[in-house]
């Protein structure tokens, strides 16, 4: 028996051992656990390739630009929804908050003759206030977020219809600033709207806050284990209140994107946005149990939904089947999340 002592680095040897012990599937689980946005990224990539192969019009810059414009509103709402779901909450009222802000803006301009900037500001304040109300009910009255936002969904939808009388205000009445988000400009072969830029900026700012600030870390910690966070000295209620309020602000801002996209301030535009925002977040790999996920994943999730709807339409598939496929995606995404969460040391 030779007694050569091979020079060994203990840590890398330990890593090697870890690697050998794991099956490929377990390794995949570990990688996805570390980077939850990888699964929507993979799904998106495959979808883009396949839809392009089925109908090459899908790949045309004009079509891809259209997909981005179509998903902009839901993608923006999904930013706020992600924050809330990260805290293990849920917000069913996101679309209602946005629509309320939209009709308030329309009302101020058309019925009160307010300047566009002031109407927009008030709209954002209304959204923020609605978020604050949700947050107050969740943290002070201690009601479950599902119930609170189910209630505010109905309340705010009713108020929006009362304020607007069910009537849209056309873009021509709203003026340049409010419809500015609908204007587009070329970027290479693509056409990008200002609204899409606003949404991307939103992702950049909130993404930075989530990843790089103590606040962001506390959002994750509170969703992960609220009691542990409290014992670690984090004011759980303050974090939750800030999350719901900031989400409300985002929904108010999204009203601007919606007005640009729809070309009017309508109480009927984007009524399905409540659930669509949850769909985007879930497909984006954020866990409904809280504490796990990323904003990048949500962006990919929102685009994935848009790509499936657009790609399936171009492939000649009926709208009902598009909806069916999105439903399958949601369930698959949650199943993957459950599997990822079972990762072991």
């Amino acid at each position: 028996m030779t007694t050569t002592t091979a020079p060994s680095a203990p840590s890398s040897a330990a890593e090697e051992f870890e690697q050998r012990r794991r099956s490929p599937l377990q390794r995949l689980q570990l990688v996805l656990h570390r980077r939850p946005e990888l699964s929507p990224a993979a799904v998106l990539l495959v979808a883009v390739i396949i839809f392009g192969l089925i109908n090459e019009r899908f790949w045309q810059p004009a079509n891809l630009s259209l997909v981005l414009q179509q998903v902009a509103v839901v993608a923006a709402l999904a930013v706020g929804q992600t924050l809330i779901i990260l805290t293990a909450g849920i917000d069913l009222s996101v679309g209602a908050v946005m629509i309320l802000a939209t009709v308030v803006i329309g009302y101020l301009v058309s019925a009160r003759g307010a300047p566009g900037w002031l109407a927009l500001l008030v709209g954002i304040v209304v959204g923020t206030g609605a978020g604050l109300l949700n947050g107050f009910l969740v943290t002070r009255i201690r009601l479950p977020p599902f119930i609170v936002t189910l209630g505010t969904l109905n309340i705010l939808t009713a108020i929006a219809l009362l304020v607007s009388g069910g009537i849209s205000v056309p873009g021509s009445e709203l003026g340049g600033l409010l419809t500015f988000t609908g204007t587009s400009f070329p970027v290479g072969p693509f056409r990008v709207t200002t609204g899409v830029l606003v949404v991307l900026a939103l992702y950049a700012v909130v993404g930075f806050a989530l990843r790089q600030t103590a606040w962001g870390r506390h959002v994750y910690a509170v969703g992960d284990d609220a009691e542990a966070s409290r014992l670690a000295g984090i004011s759980v209620n303050r974090v939750l209140l800030s999350v719901y309020t900031i989400a409300g602000l985002i929904f108010g801002l999204t009203a601007w994107v919606l007005i640009g996209r729809a070309g009017s301030a309508s109480p009927n535009a984007g009524v399905e946005a409540n659930l669509d925002s949850i769909t985007a977040v879930v497909i984006g790999g954020t866990s409904l149990f809280g504490g796990r996920g990323s904003l990048l994943g949500t962006l990919l999730g929102a685009i994935t939904v848009g790509v499936f709807r657009n790609g399936l339409a171009l492939a000649g598939v009926d709208v009902l089947y598009q909806t069916l496929v999105v439903g399958v995606l949601v369930i698959a995404a949650v199943a993957v999340d459950q599997w990822i969460r079972r990762v072991k040391a």
Binding site: Q212, R217, E227, L231, G233, V343
Partner: protein, 268 residues
């Protein structure tokens, strides 16, 4: 004072210097239930003080008073012989008293470094930190690694590993490392070995000894007599809301300690 020159002072009465933390006549009642009935306690620099007692003897209530989780009805705390009052856990933490709760209080999905710095994150220097509030992630990782190494914890390799992928003993080590990293006065451990296997318990006990060696006093609550007798310098025996005795592993056997605990022996 009155000890004759050359006489060996009995263990337990060795002059240990002024206590770091001292409690005097703590009373805490829950309605008609008396949780604490006038308890004294003192912890000296660089010692491990174990607290033992039957279920309901008031151990948890006692340390909750020391860590601000419960406000006593009567009695006074002294930190470095200065009177001090804790209204909430954060007050005690600010004063340098760190607690490892039995529930561990870690966020499983966050990595080790984030957990060690949870609730007291460090920001970058300059405008990035002050205006943009950016975290000093690299700095916190390096300093977390330093803390863990300083405690001689070998089982934790990578500070970016999430806590949920750690074993029970490793998690305990993270919680203890956090307490050790920020506890400047006292570290309180509530049943740290209750859920652990033999090997992992051994690791936690070694960590306690490392803490003591670094001069930081430790208060250890445990039902496990062998563990208590292995690491404790003094043992505070709690019984029916009172301190029945303070003994040492040198002067008393485990059987005697249990006898005091259960009231079979009067103690002292």
């Amino acid at each position: 004072m009155s000890a004759p020159v050359g006489a060996t002072a009995p263990a337990g009465q060795v002059d240990r210097g002024a206590p770091v933390l001292r409690a005097e006549g703590l009373v805490k009642t829950y309605g008609r239930v008396v949780g604490l009935d006038g308890v004294d306690l003192e912890v000296h620099p660089g010692e491990v003080l174990a607290i033992i007692g039957d279920n309901g003897a008031g151990k948890s209530t006692l340390i909750k008073c020391l860590t601000g989780a419960v406000v006593p009805d009567r009695g006074q705390l002294y930190l470095d012989e200065r009177p001090i009052t804790f209204k909430r856990p954060q007050d005690a933490r600010d004063a340098g008293i760190e607690t490892v709760y039995q529930t561990l209080a870690v966020a499983p999905a966050l990595d080790i470094a984030s957990n060690i710095f949870l609730g007291r994150e460090q920001r970058r220097k300059g405008v990035l930190g002050s205006v943009f509030r950016m975290l000093d992630t690299a700095g916190m990782r390096a300093s977390a690694e330093e803390k863990v190494r300083a405690l001689g914890i070998q089982t934790i390799q990578n500070m970016t590993q999430t806590v949920e992928t750690l074993s029970g003993g490793q998690r305990q080590a993270v919680a203890v490392a956090r307490a050790a990293a920020f506890g400047s006065k006292v570290v309180v451990l509530d049943e740290p070995t209750a859920a652990l296997g033999v090997k992992e318990s051994g690791q936690v006990l070694r960590t306690i000894q490392e803490l003591r060696a670094s001069g930081l006093p430790v208060i250890l609550i445990s039902h496990n007599m062998p563990h208590v007798f292995e690491v404790a310098d003094r043992i505070h025996v709690q019984r029916l809301g009172r301190r029945a005795a303070v003994i040492t592993p040198q002067t008393h056997s485990m059987t005697e300690a249990v006898a005091i605990m259960t009231g079979a022996s009067p103690g002292r």
